[in-house]
């Protein structure tokens, strides 16, 4: 009896494996991308990166690609860790500092909670660069520089563009409750649009429901003529929602992926705001390396802005393969 049961387990596990290994990748529409990087600079520094980005977040996976590539290009040893909980992120920073790295890269979604940890690192003489968020506190905590994109400025850019397109009543779809950056984007849009902007809350982990909720909103207020999504994954379902609700609302999004690039190219979306996350990861490692090796500080310590960079119909085609490769 038990032997028979074991046999079933073996079959159940082995059959899918066999089928998978027997298949060829000839028919694959997505080809694996070339993962090997450029030559090695051979600086050999130890650089620790600690961010607040969620593990499954497409944005942060691009930042990490930048970090890894810069590590390879510079010949540095980079470690990347992340935790969305401010308390736990500060513990990760403490642990990284204890290992005496040559440089530290931190994203500050909640600066107050990270203050002590970052100041301790500075006191120990470890150069710190903040990325993505926390620009206002970066200098105060003693960081060398900040690399990021101002969310409010990016939102304002979207508002200005939408106003040009004649949008008067827009919804701003927030996919993560309690994310300050997302609220700032919507507030930025509102500041420059001049019309009405209503925030709509959806769940990033249940995009089918998000689609129905966006459609429901569009149906119940026919005067909505603009939809702003704050993540590339939500943008795709918003597009379907606009079609299913029979609405003619114009769609724009923050952040980029291959689907978004494709839809901009075909005219289904107006434009996307890219803050070039790859650069935030890449430049931080390069800057720390150059600081250690040559005491260089880009911009003399002024914040380095990586966005907002608009992806429109004109440049979408060129960006598309890069987005599919996970670097844009």
């Amino acid at each position: 009896m038990i032997g028979k049961r074991r046999a079933w387990v073996v079959v159940a596990v082995a059959v899918p494996m066999l089928v998978v290994s027997a298949c060829s990748s000839r028919n694959a529409v997505n080809k694996p991308h070339n993962k090997s990087g450029g030559g090695s600079g051979g600086y050999g520094y130890k650089i620790a990166v600690v961010t607040h980005g969620g593990a499954g977040d497409s944005f942060w996976s691009i930042v990490k690609r930048g970090v890894d590539q810069a590590g390879k290009d510079m010949g540095d040893t980079v470690t990347y860790q992340s935790n969305g909980d401010p308390q736990q992120q500060s513990q990760l920073i403490d642990a990284a500092v204890n290992a005496n790295p040559d440089g530290l890269v931190v994203s500050m979604a909640n600066p107050e909670a990270l203050r002590t940890s970052i100041q301790n690192a500075v006191k120990k003489g470890i150069p710190v660069i903040t990325i993505n968020s926390g620009e206002a506190q970066s200098k105060e905590y003693g960081a060398l520089s900040h690399i990021g994109s101002d969310e409010t400025v990016a939102g304002q850019a979207v508002g200005t563009e939408l106003k040009k397109d004649g949008v008067k009543n827009a919804i701003c779809v927030i996919q993560e409750a309690g994310n300050v950056g997302l609220e700032q984007r919507c507030a930025g849009v509102k500041a420059t649009l001049g019309g009405s902007v209503t925030n709509l809350q959806v769940d990033n982990n249940n995009l089918q429901a998000a689609q129905s909720i966006i459609a429901a909103k569009l149906q119940s207020d026919k005067s909505i003529d603009g939809v702003v999504t704050l993540g590339a994954q939500v943008a795709a379902v918003a597009e379907t929602a606009i079609a299913s609700a029979g609405s003619s609302a114009k769609l724009v999004t923050f952040d980029l992926n291959a689907t978004v690039a494709k839809d901009i190219e075909s005219g289904k979306m107006l434009f996307a705001v890219d803050q070039q996350p790859y650069l935030q990861g890449y430049l931080a490692v390069v800057m720390l390396t150059q600081y250690k090796a040559n005491l260089n500080v880009l911009g003399g310590g002024q914040p380095v802005l990586t966005g907002p960079n608009l992806i429109t119909k004109e440049n979408a085609a060129a960006v598309l393969p890069l987005a599919a490769g996970g670097t844009r």
Partner: protein, 346 residues
């Protein structure tokens, strides 16, 4: 047997029609669904339109499809906290095998099914073999699959999503089965709604008409006594876990087929909503009591509330609070009705 002895035994006592209805586990959810429908339909003309109905039925169907097997599992006395993340695993598996490894679409679909059934089997096997609470076993599976989904997706795609399933040969046939729409009254209804109703009927039939259904109630109600009278409780439990995984396969594939893409974080956190729907539908957390139709009604309540709030143009920041209060009220009403009915019986 005379009428006198029959009335003397409470087990075969005559129970009035009203009381019999009140005693149905899904009764409370039915009343709740009607109340919520009437409320939103009277306030919003979009909600009561065909297009509005297509919307809230869509939200309900995705939740309801999973809530039905989860309810069966709960009646059988167990939880599956990995149910949500399993939908992601199923969709990602199909996506990666077809778009990156070039496997034929239906073959990938089948392999994905085999993979999911294996996961369900492991859940059930570990629960029955170790005797540990299913809460702990499936919590481990939940965390493990979350890491597996992310790790494999990033390894293969370099991003956190699988795209371009719509370019795979044979996609459109599968789309017709899982992701197409049916136009009724000028509104496009998702075909998933039909699947949802179908699966609910099948599950109800299994539960009340078959020997296996009887075994589910027995296993959840009193496992030791059941074992002693010859119910194969282990086999029942394992089958129930595999049914949940089967549905996760169905729902996860519906998701990727509908949009052509799927993300590594899909489904995380949804398992709680499945359980909520099942509980509103009359399932007891202790097992042995509940219904499949009730779970679907619970999902319907949830879907109507989620979309209704948006239709009324209420501030969506408060949405979760509203849902939470609504759920508590539904469960309390459920309990009140049940207690009333049971008192009336005595």
């Amino acid at each position: 047997m005379t009428a006198a002895t029959a009335t003397a035994d409470e087990r075969v006592a005559h129970v009035g029609l009203l009381r019999r209805i009140l005693l149905k586990p899904e009764f409370g959810a039915l009343i709740g669904a009607i109340v919520i429908f009437v409320f939103f339909a009277s306030q919003s003309d979009v909600f009561r339109s065909a297009a509005g109905a297509a919307n809230w039925l869509d939200v309900s169907s995705v939740l309801g499809l999973m809530a039905v097997p989860v309810a069966l599992l709960m009646i059988g006395g167990h939880f599956d906290l990995s149910a949500g993340v399993q939908t992601g695993t199923a969709g990602l598996a199909t996506g990666i095998m077809t778009t990156y490894w070039g496997l034929q679409l239906y073959a990938a679909w089948a392999v994905s099914l085999a993979l999911m059934l294996t996961i369900g089997f492991i859940n059930g096997f570990l629960v029955t073999r170790t005797g540990l609470p299913s809460f702990i076993i499936t919590l481990g599976m939940f965390l493990g699959l979350q890491g597996l989904n992310l790790g494999v997706t990033k390894q293969v795609t370099n991003t956190v999503q699988v795209e371009n399933l719509d370019l795979v040969p044979g996609y459109h046939a599968l789309f017709n089965i899982l992701g197409s729409t049916v136009t009724i009254g000028g509104a496009k209804f998702q075909i998933a709604i039909i699947w949802w109703i179908g699966f609910t009927i099948v599950a109800s039939w299994i539960l009340v008409k078959t020997r296996f259904g009887n075994w589910i109630f027995a296993t959840g109600g009193e496992p030791n006594a059941s074992k002693n009278v010859g119910v194969r409780t282990n086999r029942t439990t394992i089958t129930l876990f595999m049914m949940v995984s089967f549905m996760a396969w169905f729902v996860g594939n519906t998701q990727i087929v509908r949009s052509g893409t799927i993300q590594a974080q899909v489904g995380i956190g949804q398992e709680l909503y499945y359980i909520v729907a099942a509980v509103i539908g009359g399932c007891l957390l202790t097992g042995g009591y509940g219904s499949a139709i009730g779970a679907s009604l619970g999902a319907l309540i949830f879907g109507m509330t989620e979309v209704g709030i948006v239709n009324l143009n209420w501030n969506s920041d408060w949405f979760k609070l509203f849902v939470g209060v609504m759920l508590l009220l539904a469960v309390l009403a459920n309990q009140f009705v049940r207690r009333f009915a049971e008192q009336a019986r005595r």
